[in-house]
């Protein structure tokens, strides 16, 4: 059983047991996005964290072990043509050039880190239809000149 299969097992157990992602975030004392990402396989988990989740969801020992394998963060972790993910992909395509220039003007030559990075997920009530609000927060890293 690899890390992504462990993530699938978590999801099935979670749906059957009625435990929500926020419940699991509380259990691990981590944010909602980090916790979900970790349990699906994109962040590392300690044996203690895996055990806590395993007890809560009634997971097999094999799944708990697999949750402690190294995270899977390459392209095979996600199908970018899945409709929800594709809209994010399209956002990169449509707004990427503007963000690239704005960072250069405001901060200078460098990037917004995807490592020293936080991502918050919120629901915003709106009478015309509720909205998904994602806040991406990454450290600016200047290119080194030597």
């Amino acid at each position: 059983m690899d890390r992504l299969e462990a993530g699938a097992a978590v999801e099935i157990a979670r749906q059957k047991s009625g435990v929500s992602w926020p419940d699991l975030a509380d259990l691990l004392c981590r944010s909602l996005v980090w916790t979900t990402s970790a349990l699906l396989g994109q962040q590392p988990l300690t044996l203690e964290q895996a055990q806590l989740v395993g007890d809560k969801l009634g997971l097999d020992a094999e799944v708990v072990d697999a949750l402690t394998l190294p995270p899977v963060r390459g392209a095979r972790a996600v199908d970018t043509s899945e409709p929800v993910v594709y809209r994010l992909q399209e956002m990169v395509q449509v707004y990427g050039p503007a963000l690239q220039r704005l960072i250069a003007e405001e901060f200078g030559d460098g990037i917004m880190s995807a490592i020293d990075f936080e991502l918050e997920f919120e629901r915003k009530q709106d009478p015309k239809g509720d909205r998904v609000v994602l806040t991406l927060n990454g450290k600016f890293l200047p290119y080194r000149v030597w």
Copy 2:
């Protein structure tokens, strides 16, 4: 002269004249991200908007005309391997699965729109190094069942 070439011409004129992206946003009474995206070629501009920018930056009539061409929003608008853009791409790859599940749990079967969508760019002061904060705000759209 196509729309992307007009965007390049804006950028060169802007750098030479010392007009900032926020100056241009003020001129058009639009947000910073929308304005930058529009002038680079990813949003439509009216002839009045193009003329305002043309006067401010001293653009040739040919550039002003080209700014009113339809927007270019396909994959050729951006090189996703450019380092700044790639970090956003990696964010989609690493956090896409978590966001897909969180939207499904919180909102039900549907997507976060990339059309009824706003994107805010901010600099956040931080003693360990300032941070780039992007706020993505898209309407939730439920899949229709019929």
Copy 3:
């Protein structure tokens, strides 16, 4: 057993039992296209819906469970080089530019939604050979300006 395998199991059971797709649509009180798409794996099903279909077709409990997994809507759900699907693909290629301009002229800057979307399938009698008629009905979504 994943969602696509459950779809394959439905199809085999359906062929053996002589139950048609319209029979299944009637059973679920949904349209023909939505029902077929859902049972093949591209729309979500509740446990009740899955159970109804399972009873009708005599499916194993494992298949019924798998029918309640999240839908699979990414590129791996379909082989676009399959001849029937390819003709739709070619339609997008040949008529895509015209549709893009017509939507822009008639509705303004925006898209036809693939989420708030219905698709109807009909057979139209014709003495020169019957015809397949597909009606695509999607909400216009204007690009947000902010």
Copy 4:
């Protein structure tokens, strides 16, 4: 000047002159979708048709000549990542499997033609937001057995 460049010239002249796509369809006594598709370069035009359009829009002789070149219907005619076109692409991805099975059940082994094919574009009023309605009408072609 190739056929796609002639299509771009038509579009610019059309916008400047305020002639709509329906006006051009009336001029050629053809449907709206066929006319738009033809003038953008995906259908053949006779010299008479090209001349009619040229007179209406005040096109150069070079553009009129180029409009009579063979149509361009391959993949380079369209950028499938353009947001409007991509939603059609996603429709093929999400509903392709269902359509493939429904055609097989209703008509037998064969395809829906993309050649003996009509496409109608309509705006449908809706209080929750107007809708784009596309009607695809293609002859069923059975696979030959020999």
Copy 5:
């Protein structure tokens, strides 16, 4: 067991039993190319046809059942870099432009159908080395103008 695996099973049984492809074509009262294509998985077979072949070759019931699954005609059915198939691929590449123009001149705007299509395979004796002769026979389909 899927349709392609059934095709592989037919081929092994055929080689062991010494039954030739023409023998099987005679059994099914179909042409040589259609029969071979159908048994490898690219054309549909009725249960009666599958049973006839199963009796002749001593196939397991599982293989006979799998032969009645829908045909597999997408890109995964063939490796176009296989040397025999590649020469056909190269023929399309080298002679495709000429055939496209010749069809346009002789028949008008349209295509040669790959659905209402027959393919004959023959060996032609030649003192300098025998030759493979393939006759492709497809209905001309004119593009619809509406």
Copy 6:
């Protein structure tokens, strides 16, 4: 001017002058398919052949010179997604496996040559709609064993 541009110039001159592809084949005393293929750029032409065609069509000296450049037979010579060419591509996909096995059974281990190869194009009258008949004739080449 490269070889493909010379081919485009031939085609335009041919359409304007009303000279057909068979006329040009007669002029060069070659078959219809070879002649068309050569003038579009996929076969070599001698200076004498290029001059004959140049005189007939009134081509510039530059075009005549370019017609004697080496042939262009790689993938860039053709867009395999063009609808006429794609049907040939689909034929390779659907019938490639059958042809590969039939050649192996009838001739032994080897290929049908795409070099020692002829291709004939014919129109076949048919009351249900005329048909395109292509005859591919290639020498069998056995794999060498050493």
Copy 7:
């Protein structure tokens, strides 16, 4: 067990038993390259040849049977990014244009066959480091003109 798996089984048995590739070539009375290529899966083997090798290496009957399956010569037979193979790939890239012109000048319009083809592998002693010498010997095949 498919043909490539049979090749892997041969290699493991060969390494354990200490039988070299030249030993196997002697056993089959074939050249070293042909024998290695055949046992890895790229050339056909008769049952007698497979049996001879099976006896020598102590292969299971299943492996011997699989060695008689049709050869696998498509792109999946080799990973061209493997460092040894890649150097050959780079040779094609760097010297391909020169070889294409030299064949055209010396032999006329045609190709060097990869079917009526032999390949010899030799070690050449050299005080500065021994060298690998590959001799590729293929029949020239002229393009047919008709």
Copy 8:
């Protein structure tokens, strides 16, 4: 003018002047393959070498200058789908696995260099049709262990 365009200019001048590739190899006192490869753009030339060739072929100063630019050895230097080059590509595909194993057995862990490498081109008379013989001679380089 870049290096590949200079190569094209050499070839045209060479054909018009009747100077053969062996003549040019003699002029530069280099082998036939190296000389052809260098003049087409894949090897570096000194100004003296470029001048010698320029005098012989009557090249413009601009071409002579461009011949001294750095060599172009990446993938864009060659179209591997060109039929002559493709046969070499297919040789890599079909014989690559065997060569990889034979080098490992005979020399140990390492590669055949494509840099310390020579390639000889010869015509071999044969009553059944002359043959192209290519001799590839590359230094064996052992992987370093540290």
Copy 9:
């Protein structure tokens, strides 16, 4: 069990037993990078080396055997979109052109070998955050002129 699966087994056993990569390098008397690379599957191991590691980590005989299979060095050995590996990939992209010119100027026409190559991994203390230092050391190989 193939070579990459053996590498995965080593890693799991190593984590459970608390044996570090430097411990294993000491055991094999090889450098840290070579040892890690070899145990993950990219370098060959003798039976003695595999046995030493197997004893230390308590590996099954099957894993020890699999560790002696040929190394896997092609593209499938690594996912270049994994974030750690991607930064190296980006370094090649951003600094590749400069390194190509600097090698040409300093050494002449040739390459830095990836075969006669060593790679050292070090941690460098730094008050602003420790640094990873990689030293790549490859023999210069001049292109042969002949």
Copy 10:
């Protein structure tokens, strides 16, 4: 003139004038690799820096201006199949997995930065053939947990 064309102009002027890359590094008081990378187009230059280089090499004002355009760091900046660059690419492929694990063991969950990054190029004398030594020095960045 874009940034990459300016880089090509620098290189030609540099070769003609006999100015070396180290000379230019001294002129800009920057390291050799950074300077070369910047002048080829992968790092930003101030107008002062561009002017200094322009004076030294006698560049046109247009080139000097173009040197101040934003850097080009995406995939189009380099052809990874160029033989010198490819060896670095192969290094990533062969040693990427080992480096990924070693960083994780030594530093914890994170990456080696390609932004806060230095690269040193050196020639190391060696009696068996001089060596290229590249020292890559990047800050370790830990993944943020929140």
